[in-house]
Symmetry: C2
Subunit: 338 residues, 2 copies
């Protein structure tokens, strides 16, 4: 019997999550059965979608149950294997959630080559966030050379990757980020063509000036005031892949009026816009192999850069996650668990 | 010199158009020059999009100027031709607008075979409305056998055609119409699988009961309360071609709250919806030839039926158009001009 330390959902949040919504506890794991592996978590990924899983509202995935372990992707080490495909010491990507140990079917994890890239990147640029950027931009956004692509949270793992792939495809990348440090990083390190601070009082005007030819692709991962400034600038036949709406995740009720929905539809109609929600899993079968090949190559050539924001200790995951929803992280947020 | 009787935009409407927004007048036309034809209008098409052209708000096409002739597609007879491709007596589809005579380049009209189908159908099921239904449904909606397609204004030229093509493609067609006569026509004459009266107090409940497997394609041509009832019923990967929003065309300002836009985007995200505005002209080069072939065939086989609502006299066009925006027509609204 192995003991796991885990963080469970103590209560569903109303509005922004607080520390009281989480509880650290210990529990015992069964021994791995045939075909299973015992894992020790090295890294836990923290991502905005987890806010959705904390709520009971209908979504594309079932919610975490109250008193259940918080879900999440992990990089883990195999401590014990009862499956021929994996051996003790192997490093894998798993979905162990917010805990130190886990027993999983070997078929539910993917073995990593720890020499190919730092293992934590399997949670970021070479994992779900990177693939969200890759699949949503290429499959739905379809940027053409010379077009303008706008993405918010541009220093985060999805936004940063969207902009860099847009540039690889010959498009102009305009990023939106919060604060001078993040903006400088997006412009100077990631090489975006322009970057706007959404905290600036004249944000909408700055954005307009930064896109003299309008916007052809808006990769939507934030919603809120940023989206409100972007939509009027979309060109005819503009494409809007929608992968997240972090600005609205903590909302407890519909905002007061006016009701902007009719005007939104009028714009969709008169500009022949495509607005397309997606979850990256839709494209895994079709594109994941290409993604790993392309992205590994781009990282190797220096065409795609990434930044990690690593927090030490599972016990610090709740505070880090609360900060993520407020934009306090800088780069892909990962918890080093062991 | 030929005299034309025409209806011009006397003043831009604020809210619903009134007779005072139109003015009947006469004017003189120049003689046709080389390559031009003189046309006498037989039929004038009245369509919801014309409401947009009466306003100065930005749209996909420039507005009609004040004192300018109201735009519109027509079926016309060639009175005089100065182009070898057309002869006196030919019947053509033109874009003469709301007037009895017009001088146009021969290249801007399309010759009809008056024996193939009643010429007025070139303004309806075999014209722009039919092609709007055909291209939007097949290119964006992409109904698959067994799926459920919902369309409003189901007794109108677009909605009626959408539902019938959906059935040809093996999908289930659910129509929405206003009043018992239109509903009976949609069910009994057009053969939709179900039809709901949007005036019923329990409309939303009736709609829910009529789509036990949810909705896969919502062909959006009305907006408003109908759209509000439909969206919660859309299935994952639902498709929403947006070709019109007649319920909102007369709105003078954004409705009071709550603001439904964030909830709409949340649904787009969690259901992986595709919402795609379009104007049929986008697909003409790619699909118009197929459309004419398919639709002529379907009409010949009795698989697609249509209904015209013919009003006599150009002077009655304003009242007929005002009625169209209120849903008072029953079938494709056409003015018999000569």
């Amino acid at each position: 019997m192995v003991e796991t330390t885990r963080i469970v959902l103590a209560a569903r949040p109303v509005g922004a999550p607080t520390p009281a919504n989480f509880r650290l506890e210990t529990g015992e794991l069964p021994d791995p059965g045939p075909g299973e592996v015992l894992l020790r978590t090295r890294y836990l990924s923290l991502d905005p979608y987890m806010r959705g899983r904390m709520s009971a509202a209908e979504s594309y995935a079932p919610p975490v149950e109250v008193d259940g372990v918080m879900v999440g992707a992990t990089v883990a080490e195999v401590l014990e294997s009862r499956d021929p495909s994996l051996a003790k010491g192997d490093v894998v990507v798993a979905y162990s959630g917010w805990q130190t140990h886990h027993v999983a079917p070997a078929s539910a994890v993917r073995k990593l080559d720890p020499d190919a890239a730092p293992p934590s990147t399997a949670l970021g640029v070479l994992g779900m966030p990177g693939f969200t950027a890759y699949s949503g931009l290429l499959k739905i956004g379809q940027p053409k050379p010379g077009e303008t692509v706008v993405v918010a949270a541009a220093s985060g793992p999805v936004g940063a990757t969207v902009g860099q792939i847009a540039r690889i495809k010959g498009a102009r990348a305009v990023g939106i980020a919060g604060g001078p440090d993040k903006c400088a990083y997006v412009r100077d390190e990631l090489g975006f063509d322009a970057v706007i601070d959404h905290r600036a009082p004249d944000f909408a005007d700055q954005l307009k000036n930064a896109v003299p030819d309008g916007i052809d692709v808006y990769f939507e991962n934030v919603g809120g005031a940023v989206a409100a400034a972007v939509f009027p600038l979309l060109n005819t036949y503009g494409r809007v892949p929608v992968c997240g709406l972090i600005a609205d995740y903590n909302a407890t009720e519909a905002p007061s009026g006016p009701d902007r929905l009719p005007a939104h539809f009028r714009r969709v109609l008169t500009k022949s816009l495509t607005v397309r929600g997606f979850i990256q899993t839709e494209f895994v079968a079709e594109m994941y192999r290409d993604f790993l090949r392309d992205m590994s190559g781009w990282i190797g050539e220096g065409l795609v850069r990434y930044r990690e924001d690593i927090v030490d200790g599972l016990e610090n995951a709740p505070a880090a996650f609360i900060g993520l929803l407020e934009g306090r992280n800088f780069g892909k947020l990962v918890v080093r668990v062991a």
